[in-house]
Amino acid sequence: MKPRPFRLLDAIRWGVYGGIAVTLIALIGMVHAFSKKGIVADRIMMSHVLVFGLIVAVAYLTSTRALATKRRLAVPAGIVAGSIVALFPALLGLLITQINLRAVFLNASPELADLLLPGEENNILSALQLVLLGSAFGLAVGLLALVPARLRRSLVSAGVGVILLGLLQAVFVVIIPDSWRQFLYKANGLSPNGAIALFIALSILDYGWLRGRPLTQQRIAQLPARQRRALRMVVTLVMLGLLAILPQLLGPFLSEVADTIGIYIIMGMGLNIVVGFAGLLDLGYVAFFAIGAYTMAVLTTPELPVVRNVIPQLNFWEALPFALLISFISGVLLGIPVLKTRGDYLAIITLGFGEIIRLLVLSDALKPILGGAQGITGVARPRIGEITAVNPQQFFYPILVGILIAWFITARLKISRLGRSWMAIREDEDVAAAMGINLVGYKLMAFATGATLAGLGGALFGSKLGSMVPASFNVLVSINVLALLIVGGMGSLPGVIVGAIALIGLPELLREFSEFRWWVYGIVLVAMMIFKPEGLWPEATRLRELHEAEAFAPVETAEETETAAVPA
């Protein structure tokens, strides 16, 4: 079917959508909240990025749509869309200066008008200025859409990169050397020169990467197997070396964030087997996380006299195997009755199971054993030789080892007979059974492996905090882990890491906007599902499922897919 040719009316429609979005984020106070955070010091604030980012995004979407069916409309479409999006905040600004809307919209303050409208005074002229600015951005974007795709991608990536570098100033000032910091950053945001230099550097780097990558890959592929293996070994060692010094680079606060990300990566690896490989939707994954954490806590705490009378107090290493074993057993026990059900039923049952576990640890009846609502304190920490991991920087290492083990196991399982059987179950249960695959048995293996990894994550989590309360084990944890898989890319191992950094790390780093955390979270998920359903770092199979038309003929063999770098 041939798509309907693009009309300017479409640009107007998209402009209106964008305009409504801008109005909405202004009225809920996001623009105001973000106006304090500088991206480029004193010139471009986060609020600018938000408003103009939306203008640019809408204009870009419209231009590329026009480009697909009616090339000559690409630039006009950008201009129209850009100015219409800008028209909305302009009108809103004017409206606020004339009428007091605060009875209904708390955030529609005079300051908001100041923020929205450029110039000193808030009048028709400044509103016009804003619309013109919008159309100028639209023009720029329309022209950008005409630029060859590769260069365009590099420019867009560089722009996004600069914004991220400004936004995550707190992270980067800690990591980079002092001399760089003085050049790149000011008190609130990047320095103007730094921003320009970064933009140019990032564009060149990205462009070079895009051009050079296929060639390098080709060259690597031509190397004899032995050299290729050696190269892979060197790369792995360098990465491990970098990871080993990471806590020192990051400092205490960022190490704390890294630890949290790491625990979610371990859980993500586990759930990836269940949902990504075998296609079993488990919404109660937090249960196994809680079981791992509580096993660790109950076995190692000096409190809980009832338990201590029966079981001696263990240290971290003695308790860890039990934590894993009990998570594994509970995975099997839950799995046996549940895994005969399909799809939706499985999701509901696991959801219920997650709640049951939370309510059990919260209950007064089990308080002598599980600590009740007050939780348990004095959980043991891992100790090697003379060193006990107490602070987040030290705790990074046990978590890192956990991630490496989880990665190793999942990567090996994925390309084995088990991985293939899970794939078959995910694709077509009936046919999988007709191939002789014991559905319950293989689902159980996926479920139990996932549960054990969640238990590992839980044990590390409990030990890292040193204490735990039932509130840490609510359904949001399950949702978070599932969402990070979706954002990273179902079934993809690097995707788990990317997803965890994006969904767990970023909100931790951007605490100042925590008010809007869940709102943005929802928007990101919806946007991902519409524009990039395969995730940020997709798995090859999933990519093909979702983009049938582009999926074309030969792909690399399983071995190569395993180690291949990011698809463009």
Partner: protein, 275 residues
């Protein structure tokens, strides 16, 4: 039963109901070793239901199905497959999003043994098994002339090749009995010709017994040793192609009562079903 010595599969008085619908009634079919045995009948006659009863997807209410003398009715599908019964589907059901090779490797499942620890530790035994499996899968793909497309995504293959891949996947389990559900449906005459040759080679070269559902009478009459005709879930006739071709009951089932009175039955049956 006495037939067991000559027959790989025996269905005895098999009945299957869906609510009020009687899909199969007291069906008796005996499939001889190394036979190409066809099951034909008008739409809704219960042919695919019979396949599903054999492979364990349906549990017949009455009767028994013996595979090499062992009762298999009501056995779960994976165990039936494990005994050496493989099948293909009327509407092709490949693992569409993975490679051709991976499809065949999944088909090999029942003959491989690597478990959780073998896979994670990649023991020498697991590695050897995997290497051999790939080698064998490639041989199978050569057999169905798909070796050069091993790395293609299954859903990108043309229709005829998807059918062949489905057969290769079924063969990968080294079955003794292969159930083919309309293997030539939707094929052009050339592809049909090739598929017929392939089916005959399965019997001659690999010694596999074939149970076949087919609508194309040219195929059925050409390659079958014996044909069973179903109508409304009952067996109405059985015999070699010549006997079936001239059986008045068969012609009636296909053409209605009036036609049975006419002459030259064979030609009419063929024409009616092909058209």
């Amino acid at each position: 039963m006495t037939q067991n010595h000559n027959h790989i599969l025996v269905a005895h008085k098999v009945s299957k109901r869906f609510g009020g619908l009687q899909a199969l009634t007291d069906l008796d079919i005996a499939v001889a070793f190394h036979a190409i045995h066809s099951v034909i009948g008008p739409n809704g006659a219960g042919k695919t239901t019979f396949f599903n009863c054999i492979t364990g997807f349906y549990k017949p209410e009455e009767g028994e199905i013996l595979f090499r003398g062992q009762p298999i009715q009501g056995m779960p599908p994976d165990r039936v497959a494990g005994l050496g019964i493989a099948r293909t589907y009327q509407n092709i059901r490949l693992f569409a999003n993975v490679t051709v090779l991976e499809n065949v490797l999944v088909g090999m499942h029942r003959r491989l043994h690597t478990g959780w620890f073998g896979a994670v530790l990649r023991t020498p035994a697991a590695r050897r098994e995997e290497r051999n499996a790939v080698k064998e899968a490639m041989e199978l793909l050569r057999f169905v002339e798909l070796a050069d497309k091993a790395d293609y995504i299954a859903k990108n293959l043309p229709y005829g090749e998807q059918r062949r891949l489905e057969i290769a996947r079924a063969l990968a389990g080294k079955p003794d009995l292969l159930l083919l559900d309309e293997p030539t449906a939707g094929m052009n005459p050339k592809e049909t010709e090739d598929t017929m040759a392939l089916i005959q080679r399965l019997r001659e070269d690999m010694g596999i017994t074939i149970l076949l559902i087919e609508h194309d009478m040219r195929v059925v009459m050409n390659i079958s040793d014996i044909i069973t005709v179903l109508d409304f879930g009952k067996k109405i006739a059985e015999g070699d192609p010549l006997a079936i071709r001239t059986n008045p009951q068969v012609i009636e089932a296909y053409l209605g009562r009036g036609a049975a009175a006419g002459r030259d039955y064979g030609a009419k049956t063929t024409a009616a079903v092909e058209g």
